[in-house]
């Protein structure tokens, strides 16, 4: 009753608008942001089927780039292991004597970037060749052993990368008594070229999918705006600014993006987990230990951030295009 009396007192005086103080307005804007953020979230679930459909479409569109990213990251890890030479074959000159070979082996053992050196004499090389090929009888007819002695050098882990192995090869080529240094990295370079091409393709697909996310959210917000045209007109009539009216739509767009990002993360997790057993079986065949690495915390946060940002930008585009044009009639 006292409050009602107070209202009457204000009305009975000179008609004026009760102004809200500056601090009051600042706290009101913050409060309105929170209220509109949460109310727009609950607004989404007034049409749960449509919302879920939109979110799943967004999740699918975002999951492909994120899954490609995880696969590429793992492929890079694999090729990183094969980046340089795991073995370097040094074909020795035919006229090199055994004592000089021993001197060379001892010298190579002192290299910081060499882990081990294995000597295969001309005789051992011929015997191995006989075992591995079907020319063993034909080889008996040769006057002399055509194969050179070989030193198989295994670089240290630090020197196994591309740059390290190139440096080691250059040093080995300067050694006396070595006829040919052979490193078989061509196939790795080809694999890396294929991966690089795949990355370009994935980036192109990712850009197209992200554009589709923008279009999906933008269109959803456009439909929301058009279906709430009457409400927007009323809000404008009672003095709502465009910022006040557009805020819930921007939050809805951001929520769509964030929820789509969460779906994308779950789908990526499911896809990678599903692939894990297959990859492990494959690696087992090569007697390799490899475990697929999933998305890191930072990557997940980046995915959520990008998804939310895309949703926000898409709804901003729609709001700027449609909402500002609605005027009360």
């Amino acid at each position: 009753m006292a409050n009602q009396m107070e209202d009457k007192k204000v009305l009975s005086g000179s008609p004026r608008i009760t102004k809200v103080s500056f601090l009051g307005r600042v706290s009101a804007v913050i409060r309105q942001h929170f209220q509109q953020a949460f109310s727009s979230f609950s607004e989404l679930w007034k049409t749960p089927f449509a919302t879920l459909m939109t979110i799943f479409v967004l999740g699918l569109a975002l999951s492909l780039p994120s899954a490609f990213h995880v696969l590429y990251k793992n492929a890079e890890r694999v090729t990183g292991q094969w980046d340089g030479a795991s073995e370097i074959s040094l074909f020795l000159k035919k006229d090199i004597s055994e004592p000089r070979v021993q001197v060379l082996i001892n010298k190579l053992a002192l290299y910081n970037d060499i882990d081990s050196v294995t000597y295969i004499s001309r005789h051992q090389a011929l015997e191995e060749f006989k075992e591995m090929s079907s020319f063993s009888k034909a080889l008996n007819y040769l006057d002399e052993n055509p194969l050179p002695a070989v030193l198989v050098v295994v670089p240290t882990k630090e020197a196994m990368n591309s740059a390290g192995s190139k440096l080691l090869v250059a040093k080995l080529e300067r050694e006396q008594g070595i006829d040919l240094v052979r490193v078989d990295v061509d196939w790795i370079e080809k694999l890396q070229a294929i991966l690089s091409l795949l990355v370009d393709i994935v980036i192109a697909i990712a850009v197209l999918l992200l554009i589709s996310v923008l279009l999906i959210v933008s269109n959803t917000i456009r439909l929301n705006i058009l279906s709430q045209r009457d409400e927007i007109e009323v809000l404008k009539l009672v003095g709502a600014t465009n910022s006040f009216i557009q805020r819930p739509y921007l939050y809805v767009g951001a929520w769509y993006g964030l929820l789509g990002g969460v779906i994308a993360w779950l789908l990526t997790f499911a896809m990678v987990t599903w692939l894990q057993s297959g990859v492990m079986s494959l690696m087992g065949l090569y007697q390799l230990q490899f475990e697929i690495s999933l998305m890191s915390f930072n990557e997940v946060m980046t995915l959520f951030g990008v998804a939310t940002g895309l949703g926000f930008v898409a709804s901003y585009v729609s709001v700027k295009q449609y909402l500002v044009k609605i005027e009360p009639k």
Binding site: D7, L11, A28
Partner: protein, 226 residues
């Protein structure tokens, strides 16, 4: 409060809705705006509430020339005008309380203050106890009163009503007009557009009469009739 100086409004197709209209509504004054359909009543109200801009002439509201006001300033100006419509323009997906409190929500009042003042406004229009109802469940007269409560909640100096009794029976119409009278007694300027001459004749207020966009009369209906 409102000053119209040679105001004209010409719509697309060279249709002149208002022609050289002059009038002055003082602060705290209540007046009727009448005329047949298409005479320009709604256009005149739309010009005051900035839903339309004048083609020529000058409109001054509360000392401010609003003829060429910037678009960004319009919402702030509308907060100084209470508007009541024949079709009520309520948000059907919100409760009566939420509808009434909308102008305060926009201005950034706290929830407590919004509720307190909304309930006070609802009591003023005789709708206490209906605050949680959806407008769709109210009668036409009650919906109109919700619209009035929303229009007066932030105590605007000016109240514009466009055919506020258009869909109401005579008894309810008189009740609504009595409500406007009581608001006017508190110092609010009130301009009511209506074509219900019988209703106007029952009340002794200034009447502005429009015909084909021209102001043809400005005076008391009773005096004119008598």
């Amino acid at each position: 409060m409102i000053l119209f100086e040679e105001v004209s409004k010409i719509y697309a197709g060279n249709h002149g809705a208002l022609k050289q209209v002059d009038f002055h509504l003082k602060q705290g004054e209540m007046a009727f705006l009448t005329g047949h359909s298409g005479s320009g009543k709604s256009t005149l109200l739309k010009l005051i509430s900035l839903m339309e801009r004048p083609t020529t002439g000058r409109i001054v509201l509360n000392g401010n020339d609003i003829s060429n006001i910037k678009g960004n300033d319009i919402p702030y100006l509308r907060r100084h005008i209470g508007m009541i419509f024949q079709d009520h323009r309520l948000l059907m997906n919100r409760s009566v309380l939420e509808n009434v409190g909308l102008p305060l929500l926009i201005e950034g009042y706290s929830r407590y203050e919004i509720k307190r003042r909304s309930l006070a406004a609802l009591e003023k229009v005789g709708l206490m106890g209906k605050e949680d109802c959806a407008p769709i469940h109210l009668s036409g007269g009650e919906q109109q009163r919700v619209g009035i409560a929303r229009a007066i909640i932030n105590q605007p100096p000016l109240l514009l009503a466009d055919e506020p009794t258009g869909n109401l029976d005579p008894k309810l119409s008189l009740e609504i007009l009595s409500l406007f009278e009581s608001l006017n007694e508190f110092g609010m300027s009130v301009l009511i557009a209506t074509h219900d001459l019988g209703l106007i004749a029952k009340m002794r207020y200034r009447t502005l009469t429009l015909k084909d966009g021209e102001m043809i009369n400005d005076g008391l209906m009773r005096e004119r009739n008598g």
